[in-house]
């Protein structure tokens, strides 16, 4: 091990422990967890994550002592091939400490929340043993994410990148044998596979970019690459950055690879909050910010990145406004907000992008966890309702969801006596906002923290989302008008769908028995929510756009280079604030002035086709099915059914291989090569020798005198030649 050049390395030696602590946690739970109580398992996992947070804070102290200078800690050698040398080196600078504080901080809160959430979730789904597995995966995720954000080279970043993808796959498919409503089905598995495959397309781009980078720069280490940027042709850098963009669209759920993220809501809610809102999906934003010297040198690529982000922001926001599932709304909202971040880093506003990443981690984790609390409350309410009144089931409105989930569960697990009681009811969807209503009375804490998240996300000043979103909009208004208008309209939709959600979920009358009997969640769930709510409200203080503040901007300057600190622009801020308030007002008029009633169609339905598009995700899944998946399935079926034994044996083996072999041996070798070639040559030689001999034997007539005559003639000829030549 060697220390970096910096004199005061402080706590730098702790950097590898960012990864080791979660790994230790998951090892303890894996090896000894079967003896632990749930409380113990959760405590080990949370402590492991909390220890990583403590390390992050200590590293932050160290780095701020060095004014944000990058420090590197080499843990081990990895590979040295020719000029390429890659090591397990941890890079601690202002950008990575910002990321690690968010990941470990929000991650720890979500670990604590998950103790309460999973306690109930595994019981609703009748598989208590899976509690331990969840926390093992969660710790694995923290470890992989730490590798991603502290890696000192693109390859180490890629190790983390793949690691978090694996954890995403494992956790989306956590209830792999169920569907969203806990019925036996493979739909959760399909969601996990979809997430994995979409990410694979993106990872392909990442790898190609890395290969080009190695070819052009001869190194994958950040500093060495960035130093050489001026010496490399812009075309090569454009190729690298655009292939990286493909990776970003996969990991950060941008158009066109975003389709996996809404389906990833199949994972338990803490997973949605941690992986699919706060941390993993921001890896793409981190990648672009980390590669700032590359992107800044090619404005063409920057424009494409910014437009991809802006289009995603608006596109996903329109879909979010048409959803009825509480988590789906938040999922599309996440895609939309990621679009804001990608647009920001694409425009070179790296600080604004990272700032929004941080505040978004706070309020979107908060919203997801609160939504999880709402869903648990609904489940409890449904449970009570079912027990109190067997004859009077609440009528779920969704006809397509036919079976009672407990009933379906009973098929899998016959020990479930409650399930048998509830047979033949309509299925109850605890996440459907049309079943909710009036929850602010039954779940007051959840309501207030949800409100905090909602105002932060909607961009109402002075809550955190306002400051970060406004900074992005301000940068956009200066650098990219098209992106600015797309993002502004997206901001309008953001406020609208959040208002719609609040009115539908917490206001009005309960539209389902479960909502009427819903119960507030226990403290292990609400305390992390309150902490996150405080962060969501106050998070804007990180980077206030006033003289003397810009703290995050100055902090990141050491890593990202010169950063322009923009003052508050009243015009941009005013427009976005007015639009947000207007959107909330419109949503109030539509959903709260006359409360959304049971069995009512959505007021947005008057938009006709437009609403249908929003509700059906603009048929993007269907389009992808049509363009990619169905042809793929057809090819698969073709391979599976047409290219079968008969194909291989009768056709390929008999006709192609044997036929070719026979043709070569009989016609080619036997007839042409052997008979007409070698045989004919040998026979011809014999025949020719024979006929020559037949001619020559006549000379040998046995008369000595004729021999003598020929000698004489020969001598005469030779002498004649010699004399007269």
């Amino acid at each position: 091990m060697h220390l970096s050049e910096s004199v005061n390395t402080g706590f730098l030696f702790l950097a590898p422990w960012l990864v080791f602590f979660p790994v230790i946690g998951l090892l303890i739970n894996t090896l000894f967890g079967h003896k632990f109580s749930e409380r113990m398992i959760g405590a080990v996992a949370s402590l492991a994550s909390g220890a990583a947070f403590v390390v992050s804070v200590l590293l932050y102290v160290t780095v701020s002592g060095a004014h944000g200078e990058a420090m590197r800690w080499q843990l081990a050698e990895w590979m040295h091939i020719g000029t390429l040398s890659l090591d397990w080196t941890f890079r601690v600078d202002s950008l990575s400490t910002t990321m690690m504080l968010v990941v470990s901080g929000v991650g720890t809160l979500i670990h604590i929340y998950a103790i309460g959430y999973m306690h109930e979730d595994v019981r609703f789904k009748n598989d208590v043993g899976r509690f331990r597995r969840f926390f093992v995966f969660l710790n694995l995720f923290i470890a992989a994410m730490m590798v991603l954000i502290t890696g000192d080279s693109y390859l180490m970043l890629f190790v983390g990148w793949e690691g978090v993808g694996l954890c995403s796959f494992l956790l989306v498919g956590f209830w792999y044998e169920l569907d969203l409503l806990a019925r036996p089905s493979w739909s959760n598995s399909f969601a996990a596979v979809k997430a994995f495959v979409a990410n694979r397309v993106g990872d392909f781009g990442f790898l190609i970019a890395t290969f080009i980078m190695f070819w052009a720069f001869g190194s994958l280490q950040f500093d060495k690459v960035f130093q050489q940027v001026p010496t490399v042709a812009p075309g090569v850098i454009i190729a690298i950055t655009l292939f990286f963009l493909l990776g970003v669209t996969g990991k950060s759920a941008q158009v066109p690879l975003y389709v996996w993220l809404p389906d990833a809501m199949a994972g338990p809610t803490p997973v949605s909050a941690l992986i699919h809102a706060a941390t993993m999906v921001t890896a793409g934003v981190y990648l672009v910010a980390r590669s700032a010297p590359l992107y800044s040198s090619v404005p063409e690529a920057q424009n494409i990145v910014a437009l991809v982000g802006a289009v995603t922001a608006l596109f996903a926001a329109t879909i979010a406004a048409g959803q009825f599932d509480i988590k789906k709304v938040l999922a599309y909202s996440t895609i939309s907000q990621l679009g804001f971040m990608v647009a920001a880093v694409g425009m070179g506003a790296y600080v604004a992008g990272i700032f929004h990443l941080v505040t978004h981690a706070f309020f979107k984790a908060l919203l997801f966890l609160s939504a999880g609390s709402v869903i648990l409350g609904m489940e409890r309410g449904h449970h009570h309702a079912a027990h109190a009144n067997h004859d009077n089931h609440g009528k779920g409105k969704k006809g397509k969801r036919k079976e009672e989930r407990h009933d379906a569960r009973a098929e899998r697990s016959h020990s479930d006596s409650e399930g048998a009681d509830e047979a033949h009811g309509e299925v109850f969807d605890p996440g459907d906002m049309r079943n909710m209503g009036g929850l602010r009375k039954t779940m007051p804490v959840t309501f207030w923290v949800y409100m905090a998240g909602m105002v932060a996300l909607s961009g109402i000043p002075p809550f955190s989302g306002f400051w970060s979103k406004d900074e992005i909009l301000l940068d956009a208004s200066m650098h990219n008008q098209a992106a600015y208008w797309l993002l502004t309209i997206a901001a309008f939709f953001t406020a609208f769908y959040m208002g719609r959600q609040i009115w539908m979920v917490f206001f009005g009358e309960a539209r389902h028995e479960a909502a009427a009997r819903a119960e507030e969640s226990p403290k292990v769930i609400t305390v992390p929510l309150i902490i996150l709510a405080a962060l969501a409200v106050l998070g804007g203080a990180l980077n206030l756009p006033f003289e003397g503040f810009h703290n995050l901007g100055h902090w990141l300057e050491a890593t990202l280079g010169e950063v322009e600190s923009l003052p508050l622009n009243l015009q941009v801020a005013g427009i976005s604030t007015l639009l947000a308030l207007l959107a909330i007002l419109i949503s109030w008029l539509m959903y709260a002035r006359k409360p959304f009633a049971k069995d009512q169609t959505d007021p947005l339905a008057s938009l006709g086709l437009f609403f249908k598009g929003m509700n059906n995700k603009w048929w993007m899944d269907e389009l992808y099915h049509l363009l990619f998946i169905n042809p793929y399935i057809k090819i698969s079926y073709f391979i599976a059914e047409v290219i079968d034994w008969r194909f291989w044996h009768d056709w390929f083996h008999e006709k192609v291989i044997m036929g070719t072999y026979n043709w070569i041996s009989f016609t080619g070798l036997n007839e042409y090569a052997d008979q007409k070639g070698i045989d004919a040559f040998a026979n011809g030689l014999g025949t020719w020798t024979q006929s020559l001999a037949g001619t020559l034997r006549k000379v040998q007539n046995g008369f000595v005198r004729s021999y003598a005559l020929s000698i004489l003639l020969g001598v005469v000829l030779i002498l004649g030649y010699l004399i007269f030549k």
Binding site: L696, R697, K698, V699, Q700, N701, G702, F703, V704, R705, A708, L709, L712
Partner: protein, 100 residues
């Protein structure tokens, strides 16, 4: 001094007689004698040229030819004796069992 032409002409006549004798006669002994005749025709020519060019080489050559001819006669006569023993004849046309 007899001009060298005479020797040469004599030599040519002797050689021609020898050739004709080999070609025409079937008696192996006669053919043998004809061969000797040709050898001596050649010897005559060689010594004639040797005296013209005042060189002993011709005479030395001739000694060698006479020695080789003697050896040849020894081998040849032995062959003829053997042929006579198996064929009871020395007619060379009879010795044709190897003809093609």
């Amino acid at each position: 001094m007899i001009p060298v032409d005479y020797y040469i002409i004599l030599s040519a006549i002797l050689f021609t007689i020898g050739v004709l004798g080999v070609l025409v006669r079937r008696n192996a002994l006669i053919i043998f004698m004809s061969i000797e005749l040709m050898l001596n025709a050649a010897n005559l020519a060689i010594v004639a040229f040797g005296s013209v060019f005042e060189s002993f080489s011709g005479q030395i050559f001739v000694f060698f030819v006479i020695a080789v001819a003697a050896a040849e006669v020894a081998v040849g006569l032995a062959l003829i004796v053997e042929i006579f023993r198996s064929k009871r004849s020395i007619d060379v046309d009879q010795v044709s069992s190897l003809k093609g």
